[in-house]
Point group: C2
Chain length 318, copies 2
């Protein structure tokens, strides 16, 4: 969907702006950045910018890269928070370099991203981006706090989702639109496009955690449940559970080592009560919200790509 | 040295701008911010601003507070990096709330600080401040990397010191001068004042680690040495050590549990060869550098306070 030349330039700019004098930091940075990923955030920045001005300018790249740094920084801190052993099929950075180093490298990448914005961006972008970084931390803290909590609300659940993916997607689209010279209305519209596809993306993740197989997912199914996290498939049927079913859910989410048959039982309750279908429906609705925001932009090839991207998110696995 | 009313306003503004909807975050934030501290960073911001415009404006406070948040965020991440058990005589935040929570609260405070700058500051301040945050992370990473390394250079040592305290002091003075309407030359001069007193401050810390007693310091003397860190007192005499003395130092800094008599032996070598005196001299020289930067500012009561502050740093303990 994205030009090979563009992808290659993203990769080369990603290493270009990690220019610390501390060699050790470059080594860790390279390890993490070389582990790949779809570079969805830079792609969103560059596509929104092109949507408005046809071609990218040189200054689009450092900011596209800055948003990937913010994402990478949050993954690094995530790995420390989760005590993760691996990421994208390789040992996680904290396993190789230690938690201390990884926390500091994340801090460096956060600061470097903001520094790039102070050179190539403007104060309005920084306001939007730093607000997103606040919300990312808030969302993750809320998620930690809500582990094992049967009474999580929709509002709390969506706040967690926003922090995980959606606000940073939103900022990418906002910054791209600003780079393209868009109006305030267009910037906000782009932000909502990103926010909505981010939420849909995360909902599908939560769906797949129930629906997929261990082989496809690369981790045990119902992993969220095992970790004590209630996600949309279960949340959406919570009101229709019997008292007995509620007790079962409670037992599973509060147990550090829940039994396999209890997990399976919750999984089939969710399926029977329609939690899976509801999750897909909600995700489609969010994608539709996202696509409708695109009406505020010129109709060209880049708009088509953004439409495809939004739809791809819900259709990716089933 | 600082007005009681000013100190009280700093305290109240510190809690005012921690306004997350996530209550859990407020709780942790309050725990950390209520542990006190001299609020040296806000004081520097406010004093430089007053030096130029006589009185503080309302918008000086959120930025003074933002710089304290950056400091607090770095302390939080430091505690995780060091696995610290206590800070300022209370259990450290990571002991009470866990590493995961503390990492994320630090991230929130970093982001909140930059967000405040996007509202009350300008792009030039953000460039200066985000550059300092980069250097803080770089300095700490370099310090980790240099543990147990006999061949640490002066350049590396001072880069570590800069990251620990000096660059953020520099930014406080830079931001305060910008708030006061100072020229580019004055902002840079203020930055160098802060950088130099920060370096002097840290040198005296390193001096006290050799010279003080366990009671005064609240931790064992020669703690840096125990942790494998070579600081100025030892670094300044390294060239005059015999081969045998070098081997002893090597043994001590590479041993996770060095013997008390070996520590004492290194300590007396440092004293005999003049390492303590050299550290004080270097610190005085840096304070003089700092004071000479003040020539670029109007001569009033606030200038006097900044002179006193600089001198107090070297004279504080002996």
């Amino acid at each position: 969907m994205v030009d090979k030349a563009v992808m290659e330039r993203i990769e080369s700019e990603l290493s270009k702006y990690m220019d610390s004098e501390v060699e050790f930091l470059l080594k860790i940075g390279n390890y993490i950045l070389s582990s790949g990923g779809k570079r969805l955030r830079p792609v969103l920045v560059l596509t929104f910018s092109k949507l408005l001005k046809g071609e990218n300018e040189d200054r689009d790249y450092p900011l596209a890269v800055a948003l990937e740094y913010l994402h990478t920084a949050s993954l690094l801190h995530d790995d420390v928070v989760d005590g993760a052993d691996s990421r994208r099929g390789r040992p996680s950075a904290n396993r190789i370099f230690g938690n201390d180093t990884v926390v500091l490298t994340g801090d460096y990448m956060y600061a470097n991203a903001l520094y790039l914005f102070s050179i190539y961006g403007d104060i309005d972008m920084i306001k939007n981006v730093s607000d997103s970084v606040k919300k990312m931390a808030e969302g993750q803290l809320l998620e930690l706090k809500k582990i094992g909590d049967l009474d999580i609300t929709y509002e709390e659940y969506f706040k967690i989702l926003e922090g995980k993916t959606a606000v940073l997607f939103g900022s990418c689209c906002y910054v791209g639109t600003a780079l393209g010279g868009g109006s305030q209305e267009q910037k906000e519209s782009a932000y909502r496009y990103g926010l909505n596809i981010g939420l849909a993306f995360q909902l599908i993740d939560d769906y797949l955690d129930y629906a997929s197989t261990e082989e496809k997912l690369g981790k045990p199914v119902c992993n969220d449940l095992r970790e004590g996290k209630i996600t949309y498939p279960l949340l959406s049927v919570m009101d229709s559970l019997t008292e007995e079913e509620k007790q079962l859910v409670k037992k599973v989410i509060r147990d550090l080592n829940p039994k396999k048959e209890d997990i399976e039982a919750v999984k089939s309750i969710v399926e029977q009560k329609g939690g899976m279908t509801k999750t897909i429906e909600k995700s489609r609705q969010l994608v539709n919200n996202a696509v409708s925001e695109l009406e505020n932009f010129p109709d060209n090839e880049y708009l088509k790509k953004l439409e495809e991207l939004a739809k791809f998110i819900v259709e990716r696995e089933f």
